[in-house]
């Protein structure tokens, strides 16, 4: 108990409301699940390129075909966000943040489980991005809304700092364990493990209080935010580097080793 008090006092989590604590636990578990797929997911998609209609036949060499498959997959996911945003925003589910979070997380779990069936049902390659898009819209929008409504503005930096530390800490071993499982057991084992963590994440969301929101969707409101965010969002393109190097790298340590391993394994690629 003293240790817990010390930790809460030091981290500033003492002032965090109960519902936010459950939300934090949920998002950390979600990040653990995602960290399992950071390397494995794109590598899996990369290897799938040969089976894909049209996409797999654009380039002769395996590397470019694989990279194109990965890019198209994530492109479809983001296009899905654009297409589905008005529908999701106007749906009755979106007026209940707790329900939206749970459904959003469940949809992601369904998407990850679908990975295990994709080789026999290649059409899932085009469905999973849409499920992921629904997850982005239902989960993350309501995550920020709840955070914004519940967080104490005076301590927001400290709280987000602690959250970032937890997320980074929990996400450290995920890529390593994920790739280890993929190599030593199977890709499916990674997807089921990630799904398990997502299930835990969903269960923690049950503790959240019920909030009701009035949602009004207007495209005109989008202009300002888009202008502010679109450029800064591109920096998340860093993720492309993981995908880019993933095909050679089965140890999943960190980006420090990714370029090195890639260069030493395939120097011709860059010459």
């Amino acid at each position: 108990m003293p240790l817990r008090s010390l930790l809460e006092s030091w981290s500033g989590l003492r002032s965090v409301s109960k519902q936010l604590k459950w939300l934090y636990i949920s998002v950390v578990l979600r990040r653990v699940a995602e960290s399992f797929l950071v390397v494995v997911g794109p590598v899996f998609l990369f290897n799938l390129a040969g089976q894909l209609p049209i996409i797999g036949q654009v380039f002769q060499d395996e590397f470019r075909s694989g990279l194109l498959a990965v890019v198209i997959f994530y492109l479809l996911k983001r296009l899905g966000v654009l297409l589905l945003a008005p529908l999701v925003a106007k749906s009755s589910i979106s007026k209940n943040p707790k329900l939206s979070l749970i459904i959003g997380q469940s949809v992601l779990m369904l998407a990850i489980i679908s990975y295990t069936f994709i080789q026999d049902n290649i059409w899932l390659f085009f469905v999973i991005p849409l499920l992921s898009a629904l997850n982005l819209l239902w989960y993350w929008t309501n995550y920020y809304v709840i955070l914004a409504s519940e967080v104490e503005p005076k301590h927001i930096g400290q709280e987000m700092g602690v959250l970032e530390v937890l997320v980074k800490l929990m996400g450290l071993l995920g890529p390593l364990l994920g790739t280890f499982l993929a190599v030593s057991v199977s890709f499916a084992s990674v997807f089921w493990t990630a799904s398990f963590f997502l299930l835990l994440s969903i269960l923690t969301l049950v503790e959240l209080p019920n909030l009701r929101l009035k949602t009004v969707w207007r495209w005109s409101d989008f202009k300002l935010a888009a202008a502010n965010y679109s450029a800064s969002a591109v920096i998340t393109g860093k993720t492309w580097a993981y995908w880019f190097f993933g095909q050679y790298f089965y140890f999943g340590f960190s980006t420090i080793l990714l370029p090195l391993a890639t260069f030493w394994l395939q120097p011709d690629l860059y010459l």
Binding site: Y144, S230, A233, P259
Partner: protein, 137 residues
């Protein structure tokens, strides 16, 4: 991780002066350029990755804190949706660039260079953010 926490403390205590924290986004962009240029030097790459970890410690926490404050200040779920849509557009542009590089058979270093160009734009857009979303202490 330590820097992520400390930058959060700094955000709370010096909310009027968070430009430096936000400009670490621009630093990350420059690091992409260095990556592209120093591709054949493993030692430099290690140094860059280490530096990137340090800088991202500042950037991630500040960016997240500001996002929450913006959603709160706007008091609307619309802003949260807009954020997702803006991310989608950004990623579609990024994906389009990569497809273009693949189709034109350009050198793969162009990928890293596009990250630099995209990241550099953050410098333009984050410049005035601190003034618009400051909350009274």
């Amino acid at each position: 991780m330590i820097l992520a926490y400390l930058s959060g403390l700094a955000f709370d205590n010096k909310r009027q002066n968070n430009r430096w924290n936000l400009n670490t986004g621009g630093t990350r962009a420059i690091l992409w350029l260095v990556r592209a240029l120093a591709w054949h030097s493993p030692l430099i790459l290690v140094a860059i990755e280490s530096l990137d970890r340090l800088v991202s410690g500042f950037f991630d926490t500040t960016f997240l804190s500001l996002t929450i404050l913006r959603v709160r200040a706007n008091n609307s779920i619309i802003y949260a949706y807009n954020r997702q849509i803006a991310f989608a557009i950004a990623n579609i542009i990024g994906s389009g660039l990569i497809v273009l590089i693949l189709l034109l058979d350009l050198h793969l270093i162009w990928l890293l260079t596009t990250f630099f160009l995209a990241g550099s734009l953050t410098l333009i857009f984050v410049k005035d953010q601190r003034l618009r979303y400051v909350l009274a202490k």
